[in-house]
Amino acid sequence: MSTQATQVAQRSRLLAWLDERFGTGSVEEFIRHKTVPQHRHSLWYYFGGMTLFLFTIQVLTGILLLLYYRPTPNDAFESVQYIMTQVRFGWLIRSVHSWSANLMIFAVFVHMFSVFFLKAYRKPRELTWISGMLLLFIVLGFGFSGYLLPWNTLAFFATKVGTEMAGSIPFIGKWILIFLRGGEEVTGATLTRFFGFHVAVLPGLATVLLATHLLLVQHLGMSVPPGVERRIAEGKEPARSMPFFPTFLLHDLMGWYAALGVLGALAAIFPWELGTKADAFASAPAGIRPEWYFVFMFQTLKFLPPKILFLEGEFAGLLGFGLAAAVWIAVPFIDRRAGFGRVSRFFTGLGVFALGYIAVMSALAYWH
């Protein structure tokens, strides 16, 4: 027997062994028959997988950072400095972690907006959309909690402002603030808590939600945009698809490989800065601003007057964003037209408005 034939025989023996015990044959069958629709919007299907890949990078580099990082106010800054300057390739690991975090959030946003505009949230994928939105909030939570960990000045004030905003919620705000900060002020207690959120609570939640999200995607298959569906129904376009394994997965792999290259280049050319150590008794430095994905909210806060009607300005802002997020999550249930496969221009308009608002507010913040 040739070597190739031997390998095939061994592989099928292993599969048979597994199938006998766990009935894995059905899974194999499922993978063999899984297809991905092919049309002019297929490109957008890759951003979920890209997010997943960058998340994997985060888990791996995060574990590596844990080997040296120390989550106390006296040690945190110094330990990151140590990683950046003393540990071999420490600068690379930390810079990749920071860059990959930012690229992941970017990929999440692209994924979300493409799902939104292609109406992939419509029946029967309502719960896929909701699990995805919850994952988005978790990703933002990862960003917010991870930002504080190097214990530098920018992070210190960003955390002060972010947690103080939560504190502006009537009645329960004070408790949320104390829960988040581990006391009245941003101190070492806050750092310890944020570390716990970042490396234990959020990864646990993310794992459960991610599993749910992926199972739903497998169960329901990829959504075909209503426009394409109509063209297929009218016979203007043939219904085409490609096998998931190996075609789609190989495309995915090419994208991931390219992403690794981009990450390495970014980390090498623009190593992530550390800044100055946080000092509770220093003024907030000029030009302070949060990470880019929070900038549109930050800029909105700057424009809000101290009082809007009977509400505190920042609470009014928070309420506005909260309501907007609630509507956004509930979109599969509100957009009934898309549910019936009809054109829903209003929701496309809503998406354009949201995207425009984020773009304009962010541009204003960087332009000033």
Partner: protein, 153 residues
């Protein structure tokens, strides 16, 4: 012929309802008793507020006119400003908007918060930007070599 006497069909059903209620209530109460300590645990014990009413914020001659410095007042920052005329002013340095630490700007001769571009005048009044309230003002006394800042009574 099925037995239709209500007294005989009802009492086992009622008995089961009671059993369910007691069992369910008991389980709920026990879950409450498991969760309560955990919920209390995540809210940290209150830290005693610093009771010091005054602090030495700077030494005489340390600040040039038209400058300011941040000093530690208990667990919170304060700001001491020497005006262009040479007098002293002191306020809480915690911005009333979202808690950032303010700074003195010699170009505009105002107190400025970099976080959301709030400004206060040298009386601590919020004059522009998002801050909703003035800064708390402290009294300043020059005692020999020490600039002593105290909370107003």
């Amino acid at each position: 012929m099925p037995n239709l006497d209500p007294a005989q069909t009802d009492s086992p059903a009622r008995g089961r309802r009671w059993a369910n209620l007691l069992l369910g209530g008991g389980v709920l109460a026990s879950i409450g008793s498991f969760l309560y300590p955990a919920l209390r645990y995540i809210i940290p014990p209150a830290v005693a507020e610093s009771t010091s009413r005054s602090v030495i914020a700077a030494k005489a001659g340390e600040l040039k006119p038209n400058t300011g410095k941040i000093f530690k007042f208990g667990s919170k920052p304060g700001i001491l400003i020497r005006t262009r005329e040479g007098g002293y002013k002191a306020f809480s340095a915690v911005c009333t908007h979202l808690n950032c630490t303010v700074q003195y700007r010699d170009d505009t001769r105002q107190i400025w918060c970099a976080c959301h571009n709030g400004t206060y005048d040298l009386e601590g009044r919020n004059v522009s930007g998002p801050p909703p309230r003035p800064l708390e003002e402290f009294t300043v006394n020059v005692q020999g070599e020490d600039i002593v800042v105290a909370r107003k009574a």
